[in-house]
């Protein structure tokens, strides 16, 4: 029956349902990915951010929360220029991280 309204999906992240396998694979490829402390330096310096809202900080977070689609969509704007590597206070090799993400995660099939 159509009441004109229905259950709305929850925006909450349920950590119990996040499959950690891919992120673990990413961690093996680039162990420093765990070191991110979400300072946002990378986001503020990113030239792609101007066109797309690209933020490797958000990508790292989204992948840990199982939001792969969101992360991959953001990643598609990266120009790999390396400014984020330069500014990262934790010395994360973001370029390798980005390439590893492109290798491990998959784009949603259309």
């Amino acid at each position: 029956m159509d009441f004109g309204f229905k259950l709305s999906p929850s925006s909450a992240i349920n950590l119990d349902n996040v499959n950690p396998d891919k992120f673990e694979e990413l961690h093996r490829a680039e162990p420093d990915v765990y070191k991110c402390m979400a300072c946002g330096s990378c986001t503020s310096t990113c030239p792609a951010g101007r066109y797309s809202g690209m933020s490797i900080r958000k990508v790292i977070l989204a992948l840990q929360r199982g939001k792969e689609k969101e992360a991959v969509a953001m990643m598609k704007n990266c120009m790999l220029c390396g400014k984020c590597s330069m500014v990262c206070p934790r010395g994360i090799n973001t370029r390798h991280l980005i390439l590893s993400i492109c290798r491990i995660y998959e784009e949603e099939r259309k």
């Binding site: 992240i13 420093d32 765990y34 070191k35 979400a38 977070l61």
Partner: protein
């Protein structure tokens, strides 16, 4: 050398003060309410950031104060102010007249059950930082089941930075303690997923940040910026925590096998009681008030009454020891001034 020096509190602050005074040739009196010396440190297992055994600290201090007059299981019944000295009546019937009191009354751990929403004492799988240290020491706790530790959560700032808990200040050591305990648990349960729910991470001390990086990189501890607001129990007895992942702006939920509450430091009621007897003022944060919070943190506004350690606010072990040494020196100079 006939001056009586009364040190109230036999934790590490009191012991270090006594040890220094013994070295200076005095014979201080330590009054301790419990049946052993060492205070909170005696309950702890290992200390950050080098994982040194807490027992070693207590043991070495205890051997250094063996020459002092130590009253265990003793409380203070009352303190009378005489003309230029104090008459301290102890619960064991002894009375001491002294011109010098060192307040080393320390702190109390915030009672986690006051944060009802975390369910400490209500849910089976919720414990405090102190309970976890007890398990590290003894290996005995019904809440920790070696075969079912898949997910563990740490809640930072329990009773700290919390107006509802009537404690607005930061307890300083819980962040690093949570990181330490998370690492220790991960060492014991390498397959467990360990989350730390934090508001801010305050890694102010020597090597703390390295410790934190190690927890992230080497142990894979997951730090989630967001305070747990609600804990409930599952049908199988596990706890469900809810928080906001403030970095993504989304609510998060996780089912955990164990939840560890990082109880903060508050001024102990006994400390306040003794302070009231000696007519010492209490500062706005609930701890004892110093003459000056910059220059004279270890001196009370009253002549001859000194402070050492966490009775004036949350402190780490090395900070407490440094204050204790400074207090001993102040006592020495005070006595010199009297002569």
């Amino acid at each position: 050398m006939k001056e009586n020096i009364v040190i109230i509190g036999g934790g590490i602050a009191g012991m270090e003060t006594a040890a220094q005074l013994l070295d200076l040739g005095y014979k201080p009196i330590i009054i301790e309410k419990s049946d052993h010396l060492g205070g909170h440190v005696a309950d702890w297992n290992r200390l950050f950031p080098d994982m040194s055994p807490a027992a070693d600290v207590v043991r070495s201090l205890a051997s250094r104060v063996s020459g002092a007059n130590i009253f265990l299981n003793t409380e203070i019944s009352f303190i009378n102010k005489l003309k230029d000295s104090y008459n301290i009546m102890l619960s064991n019937g002894i009375s001491i007249v002294t011109r010098i009191i060192v307040m080393a009354t320390g702190f109390a751990l915030f009672d986690a059950s006051k944060k009802e929403e975390y369910g400490y004492g209500v849910y089976d799988q919720v414990m405090t930082n102190k309970d976890l240290e007890h398990w590290f020491n003894t290996g005995e706790d019904p809440r920790i089941n070696d075969s079912a530790m898949n997910a563990v959560g740490f809640v930072h700032c329990v009773g700290s930075r919390d107006e509802k808990a009537r404690n607005t200040q930061c307890s300083k050591v819980c962040c690093i303690t949570a990181v330490k305990q998370a690492i220790e648990l991960k060492q014991k349960f390498p397959d467990a997923m360990i989350y730390c729910f934090y508001m801010d991470l305050r890694m102010f001390g020597k090597k703390y940040e390295d410790f934190y990086i190690g927890a992230q990189r080497d142990y894979g501890i997951r730090f989630i910026r967001g305070r747990v607001s609600e804990v409930s129990e599952n049908i199988d007895g596990r706890v469900i925590v809810k928080a906001e992942d403030t970095l993504s702006g989304k609510p998060v939920k996780a089912t955990l096998d164990l939840l560890v509450l990082m109880s903060g430091m508050v001024c102990s009621q006994d400390s306040t009681k003794v302070a009231n007897m000696a007519r010492l003022p209490i500062d706005t944060d609930g701890f004892l008030k110093s003459r000056d919070n910059v220059m004279d943190i270890i001196e009370s506004p009253k002549e001859g009454v000194f402070y050492a350690g966490a009775c004036t606010g949350p402190k780490t072990v090395p900070e407490t020891l440094a204050e204790a040494r400074a207090a001993a020196l102040k006592v020495h100079l005070f006595i010199k001034g009297l002569e």
